[in-house]
């Protein structure tokens, strides 16, 4: 499998561990079976630096982004970009008539389907798999699966932007904006730039690079980055804040003015209509 697929197994392993806690932020009963064969090994390999609580807090934050965005009924289509081993279609409560598109590369989608079928998993809403090359022109594949760019969309891009270059991340945001009807929203995460440059992150970042999944893009100015690429931030949060894992995050939340702080941005945004 592609190296990024192992990352998907790593995320699944993290969600399995979260689900088994007494104070779990969410429960993902399928995660343990989706984490094989490498997920738990990667948990150990990449151990430390707040990764596990971050993955859990991010998952919960995006769960709540979906709940919030779908609350008033205006958004009926949700696109999970690079969905990996995400099981939201199977574990969240979905408003009636919601369609969830899971976009990822073909081999991952096939392997995920094989495992979910073996588990007898049933999606809780209209779930559509979209095999696509996310580095290419994938909107056509999405539309073939039924996606309607004239209707408002919620885009979820979890654990994706740091695998991209800045140009690719900007291009992704502009591409999503181009397919977003008025009222569309986006929720995702961006790493801070300082985090990616810190000598104290180096051994971890070197391991990711050696494994073929280097973390590349980060910014300490997410507002400017989104504004420049067709989106306006409506919520900007960091782990440890009241709506993002307060009490579960083992580090101080640093004031925005603090130089050199390691940022892990959790973002909700709305598309800017010209």
């Amino acid at each position: 499998m592609h190296a990024v697929s192992y990352t998907a197994q790593w995320m699944a392993a993290a969600r399995a561990l979260e689900s088994e806690r007494d104070d779990a932020l969410y429960t993902d009963p399928l995660a343990r079976d989706l984490a094989a064969p490498k997920g738990f090994e990667l948990i150990e390999r990449y151990e430390g630096g707040g990764l596990l609580p971050f993955i859990s807090i991010r998952t919960k934050y995006l769960d709540e982004s979906i709940e919030e965005a779908l609350a008033d009924g205006s958004i009926k289509q949700v696109v999970l970009i690079a969905a990996g081993m995400d099981t939201r279609a199977f574990r969240l409560d979905w408003a009636k008539d919601t369609t969830v598109y899971e976009v990822d590369h073909g081999p991952l989608i096939e392997e995920k389907r094989r495992r979910l079928d073996a588990l007898g998993a049933r999606p809780r809403t209209d779930r559509r798999e979209v095999s696509a090359d996310l580095t290419g022109q994938w909107l056509g594949d999405l539309e073939q699966a039924g996606f309607d760019p004239t209707r408002p969309t919620l885009w979820i891009a979890e654990a994706l932007t740091f695998f991209l270059t800045e140009e690719q991340a900007a291009g992704l945001l502009r591409l999503l904006a181009s397919a977003s009807a008025p009222g569309s929203r986006l929720s995702f995460d961006i790493l801070g730039r300082a985090l990616l440059r810190s000598p104290f992150s180096k051994s971890f970042l070197d391991k990711l690079a050696a494994d073929g999944t280097p973390w590349i893009f980060g910014t300490d100015e997410p507002e400017e980055f989104l504004t420049a690429n067709g989106w306006k931030i409506t919520d900007l949060t960091e782990p440890g804040e009241p709506n993002a894992g307060e009490g579960r995050w083992p580090y101080q939340v640093q004031p925005r003015s603090r130089r050199g702080a390691n940022r892990l941005w959790l973002i909700r945004a709305e598309s800017v209509t010209a």
């Binding site: 430390g48 630096g49 985090l195 810190s198 000598p199 971890f204 580090y251 603090r258 050199g260 702080a261």
Partner: protein, 81 residues
């Protein structure tokens, strides 16, 4: 007199590290705080702020040398000498 002040500075840093790890009661000056995971990639910035608070000096994140942060001894040499 000045050496007494310097000792207080590094002790503040030691106490900050111990404060994060209630299971530990002491920390020798030659223990590698990174390899022993007493400080990790995210708490590192908090360590830098703790050193700044204790030393009164500003640390430039762009020129930071990871070797200065390996043990209390190296921190003392770099920031409290």
């Amino acid at each position: 007199m000045s050496s007494a002040v310097d000792t207080t500075g590094i002790e503040k840093v030691r106490d900050w590290i111990l404060g994060r790890h209630p299971d530990r009661t002491e920390l020798a000056f030659d223990v590698n705080i990174i390899e022993s995971r007493l400080v990790d990639s995210l708490s590192f910035v908090e360590l830098v702020y703790a050193i700044e608070d204790a030393s009164g000096a500003e640390i430039d994140f762009d020129t930071i040398d990871v070797e200065d942060f390996q043990t209390l001894n190296t921190i003392q040499r770099a920031f409290f000498a």
